[in-house]
């Protein structure tokens, strides 16, 4: 039991949390009928993936990846790789966050246009309007 807690739970619980978040987002996209709730679900889903990537870059005992000045030497920087967390996932996720915001903007524009035509945001109602 303690072995499971040490190597299983504490080592991987962050991944479990992100998977649960991702599935909540995916569930919202599939099961909800209100268009705005689907859009929010999409946002949750993408955010969970972003969190997963960022957690890849964590390093025990590391600080943020901006080179610090060496104490007493002024212009020298401390460049030991073990002291800084991994910068690459943060860079990748800057891109992913921007992409998710852009998709959110376009999705909202489309949802608004749909609302203007059908006067409702309920997907079932819209489909029944269209099939008449």
């Amino acid at each position: 039991m303690t072995e499971f807690l040490q190597t299983g739970l504490t080592a991987h619980y962050n991944y479990w949390i992100y998977i649960i978040l991702m599935l909540i987002g995916l569930w919202a996209m599939m099961a909800k009928v209100n268009l705005i709730k689907k859009i929010i679900g999409m946002n949750i889903f993408q955010t969970a993936i972003i969190l997963f990537y960022v957690s890849i870059g964590a390093k025990k005992g590391g600080t943020i990846p901006i080179l610090e000045h060496a104490p007493g030497h002024g212009h020298e920087y401390i460049m030991d790789a073990a002291l800084y967390i991994n910068p690459l996932p943060h860079v990748l996720m800057l891109t992913a966050i921007v992409v998710s915001v852009a998709t959110l903007g376009v999705a909202l524009a489309l949802a608004l246009k749909t609302y203007r035509e059908h006067k409702t945001l309920d997907e079932d109602e819209i489909l029944s309007h269209l099939s008449e």
Binding site: L35, T95, V99, L110, A111, K113
Partner: protein, 499 residues
């Protein structure tokens, strides 16, 4: 300058998209010329790159001067170069052929349409040329976002159809991103060739198998592989014709290319075909896609929607051909990417010409249309014959390779499904030919027909019909040159380990 071809292919549409947008706030006139110049430059660079690759072999281009895997690189070999030529020339020709339709459908906002058009083409070209897995995600999103905007304008249903496409497309791209994340957490690299080097010791690990599955599911959603295809028929048929005749031939083929690239280069055939039940299962899934696509197409009453279901069936051909695992099947699959792009362009341009004059592609509106629009119908006949697979059109040759590959691998269900869907295609297209050529045209009293009275219909303007006829003749020319395409390009694209 010639060694900068890989970047020129992308820079031209990107920079000109910005110029077109800037000029749109001052005047509507220069937008078309600038777009045509950009796509012409891009196509010329793609052809030049193909010639270079055929002479010298694969090349690697470093962006920013950084060596991979620190920086991003383009990796261009025969497969890339071929698909680049197809995509850029297709986009250029579609622009020329649909200009009157664009000006009429979008009016004041036509320059914004050209901007999004160029961005979409840039995104798809980038997907084809890149050699970095995360870069592929970013370009996938550009292609997707501009595609959503292009497809959002159409008939009354277009906004909802595009919103549903947006949801499914985002899920697909996010699954792909998650798969790349799994690969990154296990190896620490994002470059495709680097991953191919680092992955072999990890083939037994479940995380890599999960990465493979997630990446493939993401790409399948984006290429509308049955049963993940639900977004495609509505999104493509509700959009305006110029947008659908760009996106329909381009997006699904580029996604098929992405699948081939991931399976051949990143997860080498050693992993992709390691599990026999997986590749057999994929062939069966492709069989289901082919059959269901054909059957759904039979039930449609609108030609444009019927063609989108035929498109779903064609995706099944390409995926199934690849997963047969032998050289003949993969040759057929890659040749079908080229052929299907041109065939789809031809039939969707025909749809564009018909809707330009009559406003509808319902079967009732097509009655006797051949007397009024002879050239469009002639091109449709050629396109239909190509889709059925009649020699000497190009469709026959790719199907021939696929059949040979299926027989060689012992997948008789694949051959049977191919023959079955070809027969259904015969029924589909000959039904349309019968309605257009042999039905007498009467008064159009149907509820859905809102177009001009039949006497006033004429063929689409020459600026639309002439390019269409060039594409239709191109189907035959492409068919006659299939042999040389296979021996000079496709044979080198498939790794030597595949027999």
């Amino acid at each position: 300058m010639t060694d900068q071809y890989p970047s020129l292919i992308l820079i031209a549409p990107l920079l000109f998209a910005l110029f077109v947008f800037i000029s749109s706030w001052f005047s509507r006139k220069p937008a078309f010329i600038m777009t045509a110049i950009a796509l012409g430059l891009s196509s010329a660079s793609a052809v030049g790159l193909l010639a270079q690759i055929m002479a010298n072999g694969p090349l690697s281009y470093r962006i920013g001067g950084w060596a991979p895997p620190m920086g991003i690189e383009y990796y261009v070999d025969h497969l890339n170069a071929l698909v680049l030529v197809v995509v850029s020339c297709l986009a250029f020709w579609n622009l020329i052929a649909t200009r009157p339709d664009i000006e009429r459908s979008y009016g004041d906002k036509a320059p914004i349409f050209y901007t999004l058009y160029l961005l979409s083409v840039a995104g798809h070209l980038g997907i084809v040329v890149t050699g970095d897995a995360f870069n592929l995600y970013v370009l996938l999103e550009i292609a997707a976002l501009s595609g959503y905007a292009l497809l959002a304008m159409g008939n009354a249903r277009a906004h909802l159809s595009t919103l549903r496409y947006l949801f499914m497309g985002t899920v697909g791209a996010s699954f792909y991103l998650l798969g790349v994340g799994y690969m990154y957490i296990m190896t620490g690299s994002l470059n495709m060739l680097d991953l191919a080097r680092l992955l072999p010791p990890l083939y037994e690990s479940p995380a890599i198998a999960a990465a493979f599955g997630l990446v493939l599911v993401g790409i399948f959603i984006k290429m509308a592989f049955f049963p993940l295809h639900a977004w495609l028929p509505n999104a493509y048929s509700d959009a305006n014709s110029p947008a659908s005749s760009l996106i329909a031939p381009m997006t699904t083929k580029v996604m098929v290319y992405a699948m081939i690239r991931i399976c051949l280069t990143v997860f080498t055939p050693a992993l992709a075909f390691k599990s026999v039940w997986f590749s057999n299962g994929m062939v069966w899934a492709a069989v289901v896609a082919m059959v269901m696509g054909a059957l759904f197409a039979l039930t449609q009453k609108d030609m444009k929607k019927m063609l989108t279901y035929v498109l779903i069936s064609e995706v099944g051909y390409m995926v199934g051909g690849f997963w047969l695992g032998n050289r003949l099947g993969m040759t057929g699959s890659i040749l079908h990417i080229v052929n299907d792009a041109v065939m789809t362009l031809c039939v969707f341009l025909c749809v564009g010409c018909i809707t330009f004059r009559t406003g509808s592609t319902q079967f009732e509106s097509l009655k006797g249309l051949s007397r009024k629009q002879p050239y469009t119908m002639a091109a449709l006949v050629l396109g239909g014959l190509a889709m059925i697979g009649v020699p000497p059109t190009c469709g026959f040759y790719s199907k021939w390779y696929l059949i040979l590959g299926g027989l060689d691998a012992g997948h008789y269900e694949f051959v049977a499904a191919l023959v079955f869907s070809s027969l259904i295609n015969i029924v589909l297209f000959f039904r349309i030919f019968e309605i257009a050529f042999f039905e007498p045209y009467g008064d159009m009293h149907g509820d859905h027909y809102h177009g001009p009275p039949h006497e006033k219909i004429q063929d689409a303007p020459w600026s639309m019909v002439l390019p269409l006829l060039v594409v239709a003749v191109g189907l035959i020319v492409l068919g006659l040159y299939s042999g040389s395409i296979v021996t000079n390009i496709i044979d080198f694209a498939i790794p030597a380990t595949i027999i």
